[in-house]
């Protein structure tokens, strides 16, 4: 029978409010992950997430057009069309899954999509490192 991985701890990467209420997460490397993952790798992941959230919230021509169209149709247009924000959120979900598959799961870590936590934290679950007990 396969043994299941057990959760050892959870680390929460908080929101970074220094530049306003935009969705940004702190890139400070938590000490609990020191022996699990490379600091550079971690920071790169968080920075990529921050960039994607910034892109989602960006006020470009597309968001203006969407906004005007929405206003004119009393928001019924969103029954047929996805907003730019939603598209980027999907992209973020895909990115997190890919990061988990390639980088985090092999190290016994699991990133949780911040949207599942209300965009308040990035939750990193640390699993028991069986190789240590061997």
């Amino acid at each position: 029978m396969r043994q299941q991985a057990a959760i050892t701890a959870k680390v929460f990467i908080q929101r970074d409010y220094s530049s306003g209420t935009m969705c940004q997460f702190q890139t400070k490397f938590p000490s609990e992950l020191e022996n699990r993952i490379d600091k550079q790798q971690f920071e790169e992941t968080v920075r990529a997430l921050n960039n994607m959230y910034a892109e989602a919230e960006k006020l470009g021509s597309q968001s203006y057009i969407e906004g005007c169209l929405a206003c004119l149709t009393a928001y019924t247009v969103f029954l047929c069309m996805e907003t730019h924000y939603e598209k980027v959120l999907k992209k973020i979900a895909k990115y997190i899954q890919e990061q988990n598959d390639k980088i985090y799961a092999p190290r016994g870590l699991l990133l949780t999509d911040p949207i599942e936590r209300g965009l308040r934290v990035v939750e990193i679950t640390i699993f028991e490192d069986r190789s240590l007990t061997r």
Partner: protein, 422 residues
């Protein structure tokens, strides 16, 4: 050091971790209990309709009253004034009136449907610097989270609301981040509607008085209602337009949070300084898409995390205090990352977590996706408890979802309000 271990060996160790957190759990046991939505678990004082798509406050009667008031007024106008005006002036009048009414109702319903609420975000205060201004984040004891900036707790809805504007008694719901744009469009279209009705009722009266000089009492009704509502609604629209241009919420304006009277250096950190940018930046699209997601998510007892937080904790009883029970667990590193951020005293929590893990796990297995990690203490609690954990593992052979391991803290259950998750 395990860093020296080869990748293949490491992968073997962790192959059980499922990285697909959003898909339903695949268990060899095909038994599926119907998924419980998060809002079913944490309703707060809200009422949910349409499978979680519509969220309203407790007093739904007020919503129906407002709806009836709008419809009756418009109905009276349509019945008595429109035929006359269509003949005398132009048929465009009733057409544009109907269109305006339709649009207003749409916004009204969307305003209600979206609900204002966010989530229930733990105690005391935390200071954060936003754009150079220090903002105090309070801990909400009811919702058991630290409120993010601009969030506030609504006692009527009994939960914290993100970017809390106000609790609208007419709509019977809170106005917050998700439905502010609908609310604003609603009052704007309603003010056009009332001005329209008011103007044409007066025109009707004037034209009639040229003809007969006599006006039935019934025709006065729309006039009377319109007269009062025009001033209040137009006034409210104007006020909200001002709030949007300065990027403030009603709550902030009333409290004078960013008023220069409070202090010389007091300014609104959220404002972009430019009226146009403020207007455009308001609310973003999170409002729209949020009905698909659960915005709350609680939990995360963020307190513990002293090492990862650059913020200054003003008073934090949890500071440096891991639960005495936990200290005995053999955890890797200085595991202070375990969220212990509940307001309940440590001793009770540690006993609770273990106890709850035993109770909740069997049920929580199939609810994994919808349980929030309010109780992050659960993992170590579960490790400590041994057998419940073993039991849960056997039922999930082949698949492991960390979210299922989170147990619910009794106190925080009432905290969270959510819409249905995907």
């Amino acid at each position: 050091m395990h860093l020296g271990v080869s990748e293949s060996m490491r992968e073997c160790e962790y192959s059980q971790i499922s990285t697909r957190s959003s898909t339903p759990m695949e268990t060899p046991y095909k038994k599926r209990t119907p998924k419980k939505r998060k809002w079913e678990i944490f309703p707060g004082r809200n009422k949910f309709y349409c499978d979680g798509r519509v969220m309203m406050a407790k007093q739904t009667g007020v919503f129906y009253l407002t709806l009836i008031l709008i419809l009756v007024t418009c109905g009276l106008f349509f019945t008595f004034d429109c035929p006359f005006l269509a003949q005398q002036l132009t048929p465009v009048i009733p057409v544009s009136f109907l269109f305006d009414l339709y649009v207003s109702l749409l916004y009204f319903l969307q305003d209600v449907a979206n609900g204002g609420t966010g989530y229930r975000p733990p105690p005391r205060t935390k200071e954060v610097v936003i754009n150079g201004q220090t903002v105090k984040l309070k801990y909400c004891f009811t919702c058991k989270i630290f409120r993010p900036p601009r969030a506030s707790h609504c006692s009527l809805c009994d939960n914290c609301v993100e970017r809390f504007d106000h609790h609208c008694p007419w709509v019977g719901n809170c106005v917050g981040r998700r439905n502010y744009r609908f609310f604003y469009m609603f009052i704007l279209s309603l003010s056009f509607l009332t001005i329209f009705i008011f103007a044409f009722v007066i025109t009707h009266i004037i034209l009639r008085s040229h003809q007969n000089g006599f006006l039935s009492a019934l025709k006065d009704s729309p006039l009377v209602v319109c007269f009062f509502s025009v001033w209040s609604i137009v006034g409210l629209s104007g006020f909200h337009t001002y709030l949007i241009s300065s990027n403030q919420t009603t709550n902030e304006d009333i409290k004078g949070s960013w008023s220069s009277k409070r202090g010389k250096d007091n300014y609104n950190p959220y404002s972009y300084g430019n009226i146009f940018t403020n207007c455009c930046a308001c609310d973003q699209d999170q409002c729209i898409q949020s009905t698909k997601f659960v915005l709350q998510a609680a939990a995360t007892p963020l307190l513990q995390h002293q090492s990862s937080e650059p913020v200054i904790l003003t008073t934090s009883p949890e500071n440096g205090g891991t639960l005495p029970g936990r200290a005995s667990l053999a955890l890797t590193g200085p595991c202070t990352s375990l969220p212990l951020g509940q307001p309940t005293p440590p001793t009770s929590t540690s006993s609770l977590s273990c106890h709850e893990a035993a109770d909740k796990l069997p049920e929580s297995v199939f609810q994994h996706h919808f349980l929030t990690p309010e109780e992050v203490p659960s993992p170590p609690g579960m490790l400590h408890c041994g057998s419940p954990m073993g039991h849960s593992h056997t039922t999930q052979a082949g698949f492991y979802d960390p979210a299922s391991q989170d147990s619910l803290h009794e106190d925080s259950v009432r905290g969270l309000v959510k819409l249905s998750s995907v």
